[in-house]
């Protein structure tokens, strides 16, 4: 701080601004890094899609809403316990599940795929149009940790909508924005 003593008020303000600006940049970068990693490794239970797919469980068995409406839905603890009351009960991850079941708490999963609040996506419409889950979610059956494979922005949606037969109808803004 002694070095600052010889500077004018203007120079001091400039110096302070630079320090604050630098700090802000560091904080923003940290937030971005944390936001990108938290979904992948911060899940309350290390759920493994691959093991479930290898045992022949279809996506819809757990994500029951996917053929019915907008939300694919995350299975309830009860659904998990339907099998895991008896299967793999000695695994530490399944014991975590039993903990949630006994405390009657929902599992605080972290969202992996997200859309902004002004975008309205309907899973059932896409299933009805024979779009496979993997077209947007990638090979989830190979994933030990669920991760987004595509940047689901407007260009991603429209690239596919543009190739459809009823392209004009699918380009209407009201299809997604309400």
């Amino acid at each position: 701080m002694r070095r600052l003593a010889g500077l004018s008020l203007r120079q001091r303000l400039l110096f302070g601004g630079a320090v604050l600006g630098g700090a802000a940049v560091v904080v923003i970068l940290l937030v971005i890094v944390i936001a990108q990693t938290s979904a992948a490794d911060g899940q309350p239970i290390a759920f493994n899609h691959k093991i479930h797919a290898e045992n022949g469980i279809q996506c819809q068995f757990c994500h029951v809403g996917v053929t019915k409406g907008p939300v694919a839905s995350i299975p309830s603890v009860e659904k998990c316990m339907g099998c895991h009351e008896y299967i793999a009960t000695d695994s530490p991850q399944i014991q975590k599940l039993h903990g949630y079941w006994e405390r009657q708490e929902p599992i605080p999963w972290k969202r992996v795929n997200d859309q902004p609040s002004f975008v309205y996506f309907n899973h059932a419409s896409h299933i009805a149009a024979a779009v496979s889950c993997g077209a947007c979610h990638g090979a989830v059956e190979e994933m030990t940790v669920a991760e987004p494979v595509a940047n689901m922005n407007m260009g991603f949606c429209l690239d596919c909508h543009a190739q459809q037969e009823n392209k004009d109808a699918l380009w209407d803004c009201a299809v997604c924005h309400r």
Binding site: D172, A174, H177, R178
Partner: protein, 240 residues
Amino acid sequence: MAEERNNGHKWTMIVDLDKCTGCQACVVACHAENNVPISSEDEVIRGRANHWIRIERYWEGEYPNVKARFLPVFCQQCGNAPCEPVCPVYASYHSTEENVNIQVYNRCVGTRYCGNNCPYRTRLFNFWAPRFDEPLEQQLNPDVTVRSPGVMEKCTFCIQRIRRGREQANIEGRPLEDGEIVPACAQACPTDALIFGDKWNEHSRVAQMVPSERQFKLLENLGTEPAVYYLKGGETHVGE
């Protein structure tokens, strides 16, 4: 941007002024369905009341033989809409699929040109962050965007219900039926004064009622081609 008949739908509302009692149930239903923010008293006095439907009240006759007449006014979903060509960012645009005027909130930059060019004064500007007094904030409709400040909004004919109805029919692989899609206002109307449907479906209730002798449109001479038809009340002179 005049409309041409296509494979889409021509969503149309009929307002039967003979049946409207001015109860404002439609206004309340609209607020609940569309996350319309509640304006404070001060804002209302400054002419910034936020309602997608307003009930205009007219007095007819001399005291004591006075009659109250009501005219519900909301976005007329013009076929040739004055709000559309003035938007510099295409936030106000005409849906060729639903043939209604859509406001894309996330695209709107708040120039308010559309509101100034609307002869019906049905477009509203969000001057402030939306406010919902307790416990109203717990009943927000998840199917509708809560508009941020600096954004224009207006009646959408409950586009979320239109889309949901169409998507559901699509999922079930069947054609859309008349009366399946009902906006919140028409659903809440106790006297069935509001009738909604697809005018291009000739079997719809709306298509059969439009050629009525009592029919008129608001400011029809402007050539805006509204999709809202009013049916005159028995003794009323509104629209003449």
